[in-house]
Symmetry: C2
Subunit: 391 residues, 2 copies
């Protein structure tokens, strides 16, 4: 299987590339290191010492004997995207190459527009390029469970059968996300569904929960293969951020009441899910949606889980409730299907089992840089206008 | 009432501006004549002899004694949008300033991307500018009934109450549009709904049916006040296009079986609907949706209506079924609510009553330019890849 990964330098992209290469895929991928720049822009860095791409690729070949093809360029540039697909001729394309942070998209107009245009244009280029260059290829697109929001009914996997005024139909489940970033993923989902319908493209749209974890089998083999790990208030997702906070003795910052319930998934399971999607492609013209998470917790429960794991290894942890910077329900109904990846063979890891290892892994990097505290405090607020600098 | 119209040079924008000014609104508006350029780009022109903006504004002031403030600039430029709102201080903003053609968006990647980015960015700039400059202003946004597609259940006005697995919620009605243009409107709708939720903006999102008509009271007063009228296969919507086809002796080109059923609305009613929306604003933070059409017809029925009207004035008309360039159901269930504007006082005109007058109006411009036939034949196909010119 020839698999191309857009966004191969990212948290998931890098470990997915190594995993698939070791599972026998021919792997290629593209990146232009924007994630590294955005994190720098907000004053932060990866808690893990990630290497430049060239060093990563060399180390991977040295350790595992597998070569990964790398293309440096911008997914917003159609010529670059066409060139990648023409050259690599993929059978599957995993698209992870988007701006992935909700707070980043909420900073101001410039960041909102950048996020939506960047994400939309990259996906649109990929769709058109698949149509013209490799129409049989399977697009595996990373979306987010956040696309659905928190409706008062159970969340199906993409579509639901409704009876309305005496008639029946199977309809896309309505999307009610809570940030400009999440909306960019909703726009992508709608665009991909149309491309499947009118052009016969095949696609799996993965509604992923919050991903956490420090390692996969490949990263364990050599420190040069480590994947990035964000812990700041803008790019660090909640479990990862809490683990760093516990390690450095900073209270776990629960936003508001902490009843916000979400789906979660281990990094190793995320990689496995994508492998399962690739190896079980949909039919031509099919647009299918998998909800990609394995457990649900409230933020309060996540904080408790981290606190307990930390205490088991002798680290004392406090939990603090902050004024919520987001606009979201803090107590709500939440029930979401996630059968389809299990049916394909996913064997999930549990968060509680993983946390101790994560805390220990991160401890090794505890003193790598100073002032982690400074970037943990949330500064972007959903409903306060930013300072506007006039030209 | 201070009302600002984004896209004031367009088919609806121009007549809306004149109508509101005559109803006592202080009217301002922005445009940069992109519609005139796009129509030229596809080799076509307005069937009516539209004047440059300066001449329009002068003639309107001369005839009706009302001044309209005009701002020339690009809605994609945030500084321009902020400047307009800071200067004009609107209480209502009607946003009509988008690329409005489905076939145009389907030409190739460049046109797809232009349509989605242009429409998304303009709306995003307006939302952010309202938030910061005039947070109490009411955004009246032109969407399209095409956002909903053709589901097998009745279409409500924006939201529906569902019972699903024993629980109830009121959810946004799912969107399943059929072109990149229609999707741009769906993206806008999602973005506007979030802005209302997190920033307390008030908005009315108008899901408009296919609009038709040659005149309003204001355009009748002086030929210099005429509004544009597109008849080509890219920018001409079906009723308007059929009227020109009837007048020049070109068969009415029904795409496929012609069972495609849609909502329709007269240009005068469209203008009145927007006036009703403006004069009955929603509460702060409310995002409401009105379905803005008055009658439903299949394309076959529209062709029959035009044929009969033409025959009443002695013009013989043939109906021809073309291979459908679009990907859409040609026979389907269609039932859509449209109560809310009637409840506010809309008194609809009927298509059948309007067609004879339209045919006669257009007859006056029949020989204005040659080769109308050349631009009527549909050339953009939904599922054929365009020729790709490599650089």
């Amino acid at each position: 299987m020839r698999t191309f990964i857009a966004g191969i330098d990212g948290y998931i992209g890098w470990v997915l590339a190594m995993h698939l290469a070791n599972e026998g895929h021919e792997v290629g991928g593209a990146d232009m290191y924007l994630r590294r720049e955005w994190v720098k822009e907000v004053g932060s860095w990866s808690a893990t010492p990630i290497r430049p791409m060239e060093e990563r690729l060399g180390a991977f070949e040295e350790v595992f004997g597998q070569k990964i093809d790398f293309y440096e360029g911008d997914l917003r540039d159609p010529d670059f995207v066409y060139k990648c697909l023409e050259d690599f001729q993929p059978e599957a394309i995993v698209h992870l190459g988007e701006q992935p942070s909700a707070p980043y998209s909420m900073i101001d107009l410039e960041h909102t527009t950048f996020t939506q245009l960047n994400n939309l244009q990259g996906t649109m280029n990929i769709l058109h390029a698949i149509r013209e260059v490799c129409p049989d290829a399977h697009l595996v697109k990373l979306g987010t469970m956040g696309e659905y929001g928190t409706p008062n009914v159970p969340i199906p996997e993409g579509f639901f059968e409704v009876e309305y005024r005496g008639r029946k139909d199977t309809l896309p489940f309505p999307r009610q996300p809570g940030s400009w970033y999440h909306l960019s993923k909703v726009h992508d989902s709608h665009n991909i569904a149309l491309a499947c319908k009118i052009w016969g493209i095949r696609s799996t749209d993965l509604m992923q929960g919050v991903v956490y974890g420090t390692w996969t089998n490949e990263t364990q083999a050599d420190e040069r293969l480590v994947t990035r790990f964000d812990f700041d208030a803008v790019f660090g997702t909640v479990v990862n951020r809490f683990c760093v906070q516990a390690d450095i003795g900073y209270p776990l910052t629960v936003y508001g009441k902490g009843g916000q319930t979400r789906g979660y998934i281990n990094l190793r399971d995320s990689v496995r899910c994508m492998e399962l999607a690739i190896e079980n492609p949909p039919k031509r013209g099919e647009y299918r949606v998998f909800n990609q998470f394995t457990e649900t917790f409230s933020v309060r429960e996540v904080a408790e889980n981290v606190k307990e794991a930390a205490e088991r290894i002798g680290v004392e942890v406090h939990i603090e409730h902050l004024d919520n910077p987001r606009v979201e329900l803090e107590e709500h109904f939440y029930e979401a299907d996630h059968r389809r990846l299990l049916d394909l063979g996913l064997e999930p890891h549990s968060m509680v089992d993983a946390l101790e290892g994560m805390l220990k892994d991160l401890m090794a990097y505890k003193d790598r840089e100073e002032a982690k505290e400074d970037v943990i405090e949330p500064k972007v607020r959903w409903n306060e206008a930013p300072e506007r600098v006039s030209d």
